[in-house]
Symmetry: C2
């Protein structure tokens, strides 16, 4: 998409530079493909800027994101760009020392760590992959998430992906993209394939 010009010049007392570097909350939602892939594509830009990146994968699956994870780990270890910390719910969050009984508890533990990292300004970009679901299911309180994100210190960008993004989250977001399914191979009987779906 061309960079373009803003359609409104806001009367907020900020300089262009200040406004330009405002922390962004982006949400990729909808039932189409590309919500998470676009978030990881964004992580490539952040890596190129030398930013520390924190990925929190709020899904449990052996196959999901294996390609993205390996690529971002190689990039993070290359010493040429930013660092990458990859946290996976499926294997138990690494910072949790005891067994977690339920996915609900695991999701809450993940969010608590995100909160701590936001407070400590640990990362410059947070990818909260599939994080809409714990909110949608009521496992994590959406109002608390919104409140925390609104008040986060410094310049920390946050991208949240997944279907069924709660309205309050969309209201709080600076950038919302809906990935709409126009046509999908599964409609004609094709199953997911390696290199494409994972």
């Amino acid at each position: 998409m061309p960079q373009g010009q803003p359609s409104v010049v806001p009367d907020d007392g900020l300089t262009t530079r200040q406004r330009r570097n405002r922390p962004l909350l982006a949400v990729h939602t909808g039932v189409g493909k590309g919500k998470s892939t676009a978030a990881f594509g964004l992580a490539l830009r952040a890596w190129n800027q030398g930013w520390p990146i924190g990925v929190f994968q709020f899904v449990k699956s052996a196959k999901w994101r294996v390609g993205e994870e390996r690529a971002l780990r190689v990039l993070g270890a290359s010493g040429e760009g930013g660092t990458v910390a990859w946290h996976k719910m499926g294997e138990g969050w690494s910072w949790v020392q005891r067994d977690i009984e339920s996915s609900e508890e695991a999701a809450r533990e993940g969010w608590e760590q995100v909160r701590r990292d936001l407070a400590a300004e640990t990362y410059r970009l947070y990818v909260l992959d599939e994080f809409t679901y714990p909110m949608h299911w009521g496992w994590v309180d959406t109002d608390e998430v919104v409140e925390t994100l609104r008040n986060r210190p410094g310049t920390q960008h946050v991208v949240i992906t997944g279907r069924n993004a709660p309205e309050a989250l969309l209201d709080a977001a600076d950038l919302v993209t809906e990935m709409a399914k126009v046509k999908h191979p599964m409609d004609t009987g094709q199953k997911g394939q390696r290199g494409i779906e994972w």
Copy 2:
């Protein structure tokens, strides 16, 4: 997105394995963000599979894709996954030895190279970034593109990004995602920022 089950089991005489490995033509279109970023996210999966990847960037801009390009070059050179060949219209296609007068001619030269590479099965994934525009503007003949893609040999996946994807291309595609803009920071006067837009 969960892998899910196909909603129809087709009567095409193919085994699941054959069907599963069919070459895909994907189109990311619409006015929202994430069309190209999702394509480059897909490239991470292809890289993880060890596939040769060819990127053809049909745009002219100093800033566009700098992060993605650097990241994919580092990955391609890491020796851990697939290779990456990055072709940029903005700097003149590297295989063209003379000066190119116009963007129109440059776009056509790019497409001719894609055709040669498809015939030679040079890559396993092609990212034809912003390639909808040369078709939309009539610089490259859409019917010829569709015909070439329909008849491409082997298992070569192709992802085409950009707004205004021609109808005939959408008809030929296996997977079409429309990135719809729900909310964008430029609406409230914010300009693009480093690490997010490039």
